[in-house]
Amino acid sequence: MTLSQLLSTAFVQHAFYAVTAVALAAGAVGYFVVLRSQSFAAHAIGHVGFAGAAGAVWLGVSPIFGLLVFCLGAGLLIGWGGAALDESDTVVGVTLTAALGLGVLFISLYSGYANATYSILFGQILGVTSGDVATVTILSVSVLVVLSLVYRPLLFVSVDAQGAEARGLSIRGMSLLFMGLLALTTVVAIQIVGVLLVFALLVAPAAAAESTTSRPLHAAALSMGVALFSAWLGLFLGVWIGGPVSFWITALAATSYLVARTLARSARGRPARRPA
């Protein structure tokens, strides 16, 4: 099969739509993850998803249901318990380990095909069905719409929680809302890159963007762009050269971050600003 024939097959087409939706949602939500220094929470929710997916596989239902239940549950728990950003690490850690333990239990109970576990952990982008594409697209678009509606208050509460509280915003409410969005994004991202690598798509593009610009909207847009670039190019390289697509995507996202950091550092190295 030639490359152009490969690219026009149904499974590559499905993968293309799915990574597009996921990259946009992950890039946008990731900006707030980085801004709120909640990478650990993002990481944890992904791993909690492992328990959910393993449980669903054991029960014989689609992993996405287990992912939804566990990721949302963990997100809300972390959002509630860790509303004050500085207390959140412990809450996240406890949630994470409890869920990983459950995941191990489910895996041991499930005596079937180990491939299911593998695809939860590392993603299975080229196995995405048209039904998966629909689910992933609906969830991603919902996340993006909600995020655009709460963008300003979320930014306010993320940079100045006390000031935002004084102006009538609920710190805990916003925290719950954001962790809900993060959980949904994690669920869709796990479909593509798997539990272990979801972090790369959520955090690396956003961190790259955030180190390059001080304008929130620019940073969020740039983060979405970097995620999209990594996802598209990763998919293309996976199909063209071979190797797991999730490897390519994560490698590209990480490289983008390194490049952005290097650029930002050399920009900062320019002659210092005149002291005011």
Partner: protein, 301 residues
């Protein structure tokens, strides 16, 4: 109608009375300093005014009404934390959040740019407003924070420790700016501080909170030996230096063994003060100033 009026006010947090019998009345265009030891409930007073903490006794009226959260007519500047997250914004963006940050939805308010431009001009921040906050000096950051709190030209402006962690030059700049804002907008300003001296030139009124009590009056009424000795229950001396700075002697013991009554340590809002206990200096004590000087350099200055 007074801007802020408290009668017989008390606050309990976590089953403990933070302060009680607070009686005072603040008018438009006046500047009030809130002084007292760490953990005495100074920030709590601001939070009560914002409607974030209910009174357990007495009444509090803001523009004649019950305090309510989210009022545009009350500007608030939280105690400065140079949050990493805030550093990744420009000053103008942060001031803009004061305008429409609390609003959900897609709509844009066309007046925003004008309103923000005006408050940047008022606070003298225009020329660095488009730089990332992370690149600004401590004084510049506080000016931006003041612009943020003043964006609606509120009738009441609550400032929590705006002078903390600033060098003397920057302190004087911020004091001048607070005075200017009060003059231009007619706002009643309440400033929580741990040292009266830098504020003394502009202050009309003092609220001194210690050991669960609140004393209110002019600087002379409150910051005198009789009142403070009565408040603390032991002799307090006030020494005036040649340059008119007040040095308060006799609080050392109070600070080394803080009186449990009226402490609101359980309340996380005040926890950042705690390290100051370790110095064992009095509030308003000159050496208190000096002790902090070395701790607060801004790397980017």
């Amino acid at each position: 109608m007074s801007v802020l009026e408290m009668s017989g006010g008390a606050v309990r947090l976590g089953g403990r009375t933070v302060w009680r019998d607070a009686n005072f009345r603040l008018e438009s265009g006046t500047i009030t300093a809130v002084l007292g030891p760490n953990g005495s409930g100074k920030s709590t007073l601001l939070r009560a005014t914002l409607g974030l903490v209910p009174l357990s006794e007495g009444t509090l009226r803001v523009f004649g009404e019950e305090p309510r959260r989210g009022s545009r007519d009350v500007g608030y500047m939280a105690q400065s934390r140079v949050a990493d997250s805030m550093s990744s914004l420009t000053g103008r963006d942060y001031v803009g959040l004061g305008f429409d940050g609390p609003r959900f939805g897609w709509g844009r308010d066309r007046t925003k740019a004008t309103v923000v431009r005006e408050v940047l001009r008022l606070t003298g921040t225009t020329h660095f407003a488009d730089r990332p906050i992370s690149s600004l000096s401590g004084g510049q950051r506080q000016r931006i924070a003041l612009a943020h709190a003043t964006v609606f030209q509120p009738g009441l402006l609550l400032l929590d420790e705006p002078l903390a962690a600033l060098d003397m030059g920057a302190q004087a700049e911020i004091v001048d700016l607070v005075n200017l804002i009060s003059d231009r907008t007619g706002a009643a300003v309440v400033v929580v501080a741990h040292d009266l001296n830098p504020l003394a030139p502009i202050v009309d009124h003092v609220l001194w909170i210690a050991r669960g009590q609140v004393r209110s009056g002019s600087v002379e009424d409150v910051v005198n030996e009789a009142t403070l000795s009565d408040l603390y229950g032991h002799p307090i001396e006030i020494v005036m230096t040649a340059r008119g700075r007040r040095v308060i002697v006799g609080l050392e013991e109070e600070l080394a063994h803080p009186h449990p009554h009226g402490s609101d340590h359980s309340h996380d809002h005040d926890h950042e003060h705690d390290h100051e206990y370790g110095h064992g200096h009095g509030h308003g004590h000159e050496s208190d100033d000096e002790a902090h000087r070395g701790e607060t350099p801004r790397a980017d200055r």
